[in-house]
Amino acid sequence: MDYSRPELSDRLAAAYVAGTLRGPARRRFVSLMRSHPGLRRAVSAWEARLMPLTTSVVPVTPPPRVWQTIEARIAPANAGAAAQPGWWAQLAFWRAFSGVATLAAVSLAVLLLSPPPSQPPIVVVLSAAGGVAPEGGVIPASFVASISADGRAMVTRPISNVSLQADRSLELWAVPPQGAPRSLGLISAQGATVVKRGKVLDNTAALAVSLEPTGGSPTGAPTGPILYVGKLVL
């Protein structure tokens, strides 16, 4: 079948989301979705259309044991959950690791192939975390972080007006694919901030900005809401 035909993709996506696509056809569709962005778009559009129909379903509070099991399963490896394999045995880790390894390899290739003066900085656009897109469908970007190609220095700059209470600071975090974010220090809500923290790009999947008390997070982990997030895409 030619899945690039829009009507066909749309019909299959509708049946998938409505739940009538079953058995082998459903499994085939799921694996096709991974390589066909068009199918994924059609599916998201149908999900946006049909999921609000579930607002009328009577909620049923699950028994506490469900949360207890979930909590145990997502507990960090050192919390001793016996059934939980170590981080090194988890697929997610290796996926993330191979992602980082690819990123590193590509960065290295870029470094080797391009003459030093023309190395373009890497630009990460941070937009409001969890922002729901207004009518236009675009969440306005709020910060831009330019990182030198060698990952040693970064400059952040607010794009739109960021108003901040006097007793609050903005703190920048490097978010690894897995694990706790690392603080990159405080950044200015008004002007450019130069961040020099060694290898900013190492093991970083995204940058995030959180709202913290003056002077930054007292705990070393984000305590306030995450205001802006930008994924590192090479």
Partner: protein, 213 residues
């Protein structure tokens, strides 16, 4: 973008924040997310897979997956409630498949919707809580979705019933056909036309909103 009803988007705004924090490894935020969404998702799952123990397993899988995938959630692409509900529905539908593949796990008091004891005229909804509304009632009650409910009104009675049985109760085309005592081909075309008509109706509603506002 503005297809989703108001309530849905408002609830979603808070959830986006929790999901973003869960994506950064914040367990407290994830616990809150569970608190606010699990009853909705459990309700949705339980309608599709009426076996409580299996529904609990499905719910558990859903949240473990959400925790692992929270970082990849993109608020610009979809709303959290839409994302979460879709994951839950897909898992629930997959669990039906497994259930059919492992008949020995079926409890004897809960014949699957495909079982043929039609003499008994057993209602498919017997196993749902007594006062739970049927799928058709749900379809007309999904009403904080104003545009959506208007669009649902525009469907023929058969289209409405076939879509409701498939969507809410996770029945396959064949099961809907059996339930409605109609030929399979007819049911398939009702469902397909109903979905197409909802789509074009919602698209027109968005155009009307844009023109009005």
């Amino acid at each position: 973008m503005a297809v989703a009803p108001q309530d849905w988007s408002e609830k979603s705004r808070d959830l986006s924040r929790l999901l973003a924090r869960a994506g950064l490894g914040d367990r407290a935020a994830f616990a809150q997310l569970y608190e606010r969404t699990s009853a909705h998702l459990f309700g949705v799952v339980l309608r599709i897979n009426r076996d409580r123990a299996q529904a609990e397993d499905v719910l558990q899988e859903v949240y473990v997956n959400v925790w692992r995938a929270a970082q990849s959630f993109d608020a610009a692409q979809s709303q959290p409630l839409t994302w979460l509900t879709s994951i839950a529905r897909n898992r629930a539908i997959d669990s039906l498949r497994r259930k059919q593949a492992e008949p020995s796990l079926l409890s004897s008091t809960q014949p699957g919707p495909l079982s043929n004891d039609s003499d008994e005229e057993r209602d498919v909804y017997d196993d749902v809580a007594d006062n739970a509304p049927g799928p058709l009632a749900l379809l007309s009650q999904a009403s904080d979705a104003r545009a959506l409910s208007q669009c649902v009104e525009g469907l023929s009675a058969q289209q409405r019933q076939s879509v409701a049985l498939a969507f809410y109760d996770g029945l396959s085309h064949a099961e809907v056909a059996e339930k409605m005592r109609e030929p399979l081909g007819t049911v398939k075309s009702w469902v397909r036309r109903a979905l197409l008509s909802l789509k074009s109706c919602l698209e027109n509603a968005v155009v009307r909103d844009v023109q009005a506002g």
